[in-house]
Amino acid sequence: METLIFLIFAVLAVASSLVVVAHKSPVYATMSLVLTLFSVAVLFVLLGAPFLGALQILVYAGAIVVLFLFVIMLLNLQKSEERRLGPQLGVAMLGALIFVGMVGLVFWRSGAPALQRLTPELVSLKGLATALFADYLLPFEIVGLLLLVAVVGATVAARKAPEPGAESGLLPREDYVSGDEPRTDPLRSLPDPRRPDVAEPAYKPAAFKEAAK
């Protein structure tokens, strides 16, 4: 029974991760990623680590991939025309070789008999917490700091550059959607009173058609 479940989900994990890199449609690729993560979570449960399995679904499938999907839909990404597997195949093979080499190096340096079997104590909540918060506290804190740096960096990168008039006490430009282009109202062809140098484009039927798309 256990072997059967393992086989089903191992095959599913490998097949769906191939779909992730090979499928043309970003939405299908993302959904296959969810399937991959779910299958890996099932494998965690089979290994006797239901906590890791639940976290895998909660953090990756439930939050991070939702953000992927959010960005894909927000940017309305379409199917890519070229076969994605073709030009990336070489790089992918190189990555796989490096990964296999690293795992082999670990085996070679430590010696296979030195590897410990997964025990319930090792993968249980308590074992995991002891490892994280007692044995490896400093690396754990450093990873936390790294994540904080990434968050701050993302915030800085996403922040709009301050408007030229903002410091001089002029009205804040709240009606700007993206910061670099004034919102165009096709029905109003008057110049923006707060930025007379940027004249709004006059009413054009073409602009309407663009907007309707």
Binding site: V27, Y28, M31, V34, P50, F51, G53, A54, L55, I57, L58, A61, G62, A63, V66, L67, L69, F70, M73, L74, N76, L125
Partner: protein
């Protein structure tokens, strides 16, 4: 057949029976209650007090034309309602509904899946519910649906943080992820909503957002998006979304009463055996009904939030409040007050 498997299947059947009937009953309650709030009769023609209206609706759902838009992404379009039902009918497996009972010499805990990671499993499964909304929005190939799907993903991500943090605070003094331990803790002490009133309110507001109920029903805001992510769906596929929404509400209500209002237990009542099981299940259902009534009451009382207000509330009010609550509860636990 394996007795453990039989017990699990029977327990699942009991909970399934409770949770599948939520949608038709709530359909009637919601419409009658909103009619009462708005001072009009509501559906009162089919059967006494209009009680058979859900049956009429079910027949209508079955015989309506099932439309698939020509430009839709067929596979994802057909998959989305199924994906909506899956988390809805799996999350309640970790809700305990009574004390342990003994049948033929073996002790059976009255929870479908007595796993150590209880609450985490609930959160993990319920966090998958968003995919059905997002995929329905994307696959319909309709701009209103797409907007609804995008809103759903952003909204669920934002409120899940506050929800999870408020749940985490409940776990701290109990030292366990098991909901049955949380119920036992509340039997020994007081119901959690008294010491953790702040966490309870964060949980309440976040659960309105998680279930896409007014005042946070932005993914399907009728006045802006027609019906949002399920605009294109009709017949039984629409019914699947409807069923999933109400089942999710009931499951979240069940989680809420288990975390904050003692679950199946009543203060001062310690029944065991079959009587305890029946009383426990009835108590849990009664508490869920009260919660659902609050859901309905709130829906027809408050106007809808604007989208930026929703995001501001989630990130700038609820999240800091839930972190504050977590720190307070951690300090109280350390001080030995809980």
């Amino acid at each position: 057949m394996n007795p453990d498997l039989t017990a699990t299947l029977l327990k699942y059947a009991v909970m399934f029976g409770v949770f599948i009937n939520v949608a038709p009953i709530m359909n009637w309650v919601e419409r009658r209650a909103c009619a009462y709030i708005q001072d009009r009769p509501g559906p009162n023609r089919v059967g006494p007090l209009g009680l058979f209206q859900p049956l009429a609706d079910a027949v209508k759902f079955m015989f309506k034309e099932d439309v698939t838009p020509a430009a839709a992404d067929k596979l994802l379009y057909l998959m989305a309602p199924v994906l909506a039902l899956l988390p809805a009918f799996t999350t309640f497996v970790i809700i305990p509904f009574g004390p342990d009972i003994t049948v033929g010499g073996r002790t059976i805990p009255l929870v479908v899946a007595p796993v150590d990671t209880g609450v985490l499993l609930f959160l993990a499964l319920s966090s998958l519910a968003v995919y059905s909304l997002v995929l329905a929005g994307y696959a319909s190939n309709n701009k209103f649906s797409l907007l609804g799907g995008i809103r759903a993903s952003a909204q669920l991500i934002s409120y899940e943080l506050a929800l999870t943090l408020s749940v985490l605070a409940v776990l701290l003094p109990v030292n366990s992820f098991r909901l049955s331990d949380i119920v036992a803790y509340q039997q020994a002490h007081v119901w959690n909503f008294i010491p953790q009133i702040l966490g309870f309110f964060v949980f309440l507001v976040a659960s309105f957002a998680e279930t896409n109920r007014l005042p946070f029903d932005l993914p399907e805001a009728e006045s802006e998006l027609i019906a949002g992510f399920h605009t294109e769906y009709s017949a039984m596929r629409f019914a699947a979304f409807f069923q999933a929404e109400y089942t999710n509400m009931a499951a979240l209500a069940a989680l809420g009463v288990t975390l904050f209002f003692g679950g199946w237990s009543l203060p001062g009542v310690h029944l065991t055996g079959w009587l305890g099981a029946v009383v426990g299940l009835a108590t849990l259902v009664a508490k869920i009904i009260v919660c659902m009534a609050v859901f309905v009451w709130v829906r027809w009382t408050f106007p809808r939030f604007r989208y930026d207000q929703l995001m501001r509330l989630g990130w700038k009010v609820l999240l800091p409040l839930s972190i504050l609550n977590l720190i307070l509860v951690a300090a109280m636990t350390l001080a030995g007050w809980l």
